[in-house]
């Protein structure tokens, strides 16, 4: 594995994202969609509100914040390979000495960085606003250590899962929009565990958060290896699946 090649892919992807009107627009509007509405809801809760009401409102808000790492990365990741094919850049790219693992890792990290930065930025602004502006019962529910640990720890892990799902769709789909829609749908199940946690169906605790985090990490690594195996240069270039053959260079 060459760090230089991975870095080259990341640099190129970030430059491309930065100049992509659709992406810049989505990234800049996302904070308003995910931040303003839950904040208003939580600010409206009076200090005398019952604990069940507070827990439900905070749970819904936390879940909404988990949607960010579930929605942004797969849309970007789903474009990463099939988008290159659509604009005709994939063939020259694949004729360089890059290995498929390097290509995929570079693409994934390039999507990971902005997605997690946006998700964390939204969460920090949200948490600080609640800390200084909401009623005591509300901020006490938000500033609950296991809850915060889960939010901070799960965000990148969910993002990585969503990225691999997005890239898997991108590698196999024949159309960018189909890849993006399928990727968003397929990455949503990761919200299941966090939903159970945020609504305290599973009681959040530090060991539980660490355990689930570890499991997500294993899933992410397995997903990377699985997506690497799905990556078939021949299928991507010619649209045909490789059959039989003499074992001549179907490259790594």
């Amino acid at each position: 594995m060459s760090g230089e090649r991975i870095a080259a892919v990341i640099r190129k992807e970030l430059r491309d994202f930065r100049r992509n009107r659709f992406l810049v627009g989505t990234m800049s509007l996302m904070p308003f969609v995910f931040l303003v509405s839950p904040m208003i809801t939580l600010f409206r809760i009076p200090g005398s509100a019952p604990a069940s009401l507070v827990d439900r409102a905070v749970g819904v808000t936390s879940l909404l914040l988990f949607v960010v790492p579930c929605v942004i990365p797969p849309v970007m990741a789903a474009y990463s390979v099939i988008g290159e094919r659509d604009q005709g850049t994939l063939e020259p790219f694949l004729t360089t000495p890059i290995r498929r693992e390097e290509l995929l890792l570079g693409k994934a990290l390039a999507v990971f960085a902005p997605s997690v930065v946006v998700a964390y930025a939204i969460y920090f602004v949200f948490a600080l606003s609640i800390r200084f502006g909401a009623a005591h019962v509300v901020w006490a529910a938000v500033w609950h250590t296991p809850q915060m640990l889960a939010q901070l720890g799960f965000t990148p892990l969910i993002a990585v899962w969503a990225i691999w799902v997005g890239i898997a769709m991108s590698v196999r789909a024949r159309d960018v929009r189909v890849a993006q829609q399928l990727a968003t749908l397929a990455s949503l199940p990761a919200l299941g565990i966090t939903t159970l946690l945020t609504f305290q169906v599973i009681t959040p605790s530090v060991p539980l958060a660490l355990g689930i985090g570890g499991a997500l990490l294993v899933v992410d690594v397995v997903a990377w290896r699985a997506v690497s195996r799905l990556f078939d240069r021949e299928r991507l270039i010619s649209g045909a699946r490789r059959r039989g053959g003499t074992g001549a260079a179907q490259p790594s």
Binding site: R11, N20, P31, F43, T96, P97, S252
Partner: protein
């Protein structure tokens, strides 16, 4: 997904005071500002103690707006230098239509060695049992009609797709799965579609590829590559703003970046004006002089004839390989064309000279089949003078590479009927 606009987000009103949004970013910022104001007023109305929260929300809005603006400004700056494309109408280069003087074929190890290579896509055979060798330093032309399997062959040799059977060695490395990276390190492929990142500048495109090849001193290499295709002045232009011809030249610069041992060029002059075409031809000449093996796929037969040491004609299977003049000799009988002012009285006696195998009348001229034109021509001239003929012209009938190509491809069409 289009690029960010270089237009300013807001414009001054023509009537009255103030500014109005001029782009979607301007409108987005305006809507966001109004939404922020509404939220702020609502929060303050409910509790004046929430002033810090309001300040935080406004600060967030400002950060997002500035970040978005920064990205847009970056793109706008990059787009700005896009001056109007000047496609200089250039005269057709004054070059002889026939091939240059033959240079000796390079000798040495094979840069490409292909043995019974076959590629099938399901029931369809794209390339069938193709074998050839290309010597290091040779310019090898690969000709054939659309769908003949040229691009498939290049893709197999470029390790993009796997052969169904057969073997090959590329730049001295056997074409095997474990050698993919090593082969790609030694070659460059310039596909027919330039495949540039439209939102990146020329420099950034090449920088990306320099990183993929792990080049040392990438800036110097990029500058040298751009200089070789006369594009240094356009290094900071967005590729999306370039004409097709300029994009083709950027793709060529990209292919030269890694100093490849074997360079695959797929229609390198497609879409280029005559001047740019000549520059590419001269570049290929220079590459050959510096020992680079060039595998040239082209539809331009005069280009192949001018540039290539040898050509192969492919139509799913390989029809022929050789030097252009050898192919002519192999396919067409040699002939002399004689034109006289008046028909000859006894042509059978005039043309009964050594070296002339056969003759036929063709309108107001005579076509003589000869085994060696250089030996037969003086004999025929003497016989015509002795017969008192008014000779208008006597010339060797020349067949172009196009004739060879059409002859072979037509044979296939006939056979398919």
């Amino acid at each position: 997904m289009r690029q960010l606009s270089a237009k300013p987000w807001f414009r001054r009103r023509r009537v009255g005071l103030g500014w109005r949004p001029a782009t979607w970013q301007g409108w987005a910022v305006t809507v966001a500002a109004v939404a922020t104001a509404v939220v702020a007023v609502e929060l303050l109305r409910r509790s004046p103690a929430r002033v810090p929260v309001v300040i935080l929300v406004i600060a967030l809005y400002a950060i997002v707006a500035l970040a978005t603006g920064g990205a847009a400004d970056g793109a706008a700056t990059a787009e700005t230098p896009a001056e109007p494309e000047v496609e200089t109408p250039a005269p057709e280069p004054a070059r002889p239509r026939t091939a240059r003087p033959r240079r000796p074929l390079p000798t040495g190890p094979a840069a490409l060695s292909v043995e019974r290579l076959t590629k099938r896509f399901g029931e369809r055979t794209a390339v069938d049992d193709v074998s050839f060798e290309v010597t290091a330093g040779e310019v090898f032309g690969f000709l054939g009609p659309n769908g003949a399997g040229k691009t498939t062959t290049v893709r197999m040799l470029g390790t993009l797709i796997a052969p169904s059977s057969g073997s090959a060695a590329v730049a001295g490395v056997p074409l095997r799965p474990e050698n993919g990276v090593e082969i790609r390190r030694r070659i460059s492929v310039m596909p027919e579609n330039p495949g540039l990142y439209a939102r990146l500048t020329v420099n950034e495109n090449l920088e990306f590829f320099a990183g993929l090849y792990g080049l040392e001193q990438p800036r110097a290499r990029i500058a040298a590559s751009l200089d070789s295709v006369n594009l240094l002045a356009r290094a900071d232009d967005l590729c999306g703003d370039l004409s097709k011809g300029l994009r083709q030249r950027v793709a060529l610069a990209r292919a030269l970046l890694a100093d490849p041992a074997v360079l695959f060029l797929d229609e390198p002059t497609s879409g280029l004006d005559p001047l740019a075409t000549r520059e590419v031809h001269e570049l290929i000449d220079r590459l050959r002089d510096s020992g680079v093996t060039v595998f040239l796929t082209t539809h331009r037969l005069e280009e192949a004839e001018r540039l290539c040491d040898r050509v192969a004609i492919l139509n799913t299977s390989l029809r022929t390989v050789g030097r252009p003049d050898e192919l002519r000799d192999r396919l067409f009988t040699k002939a002399l064309l004689v034109r006289t002012a008046q028909p000859l009285q006894a042509p059978e006696q005039v043309f009964a000279v050594p070296g002339v195998d056969d003759w036929r009348r063709d309108g107001d001229s005579y076509a003589l089949t000869v085994s060696d034109a250089k030996l037969a021509a003086p004999e025929v001239t003497r016989a015509l003078v002795a017969a008192g003929a008014d000779v208008l012209s006597l010339a060797e009938a020349r067949h172009s590479l196009e004739d060879v190509y059409l002859e072979l491809v037509d044979e296939d069409v006939e056979a398919a009927r």
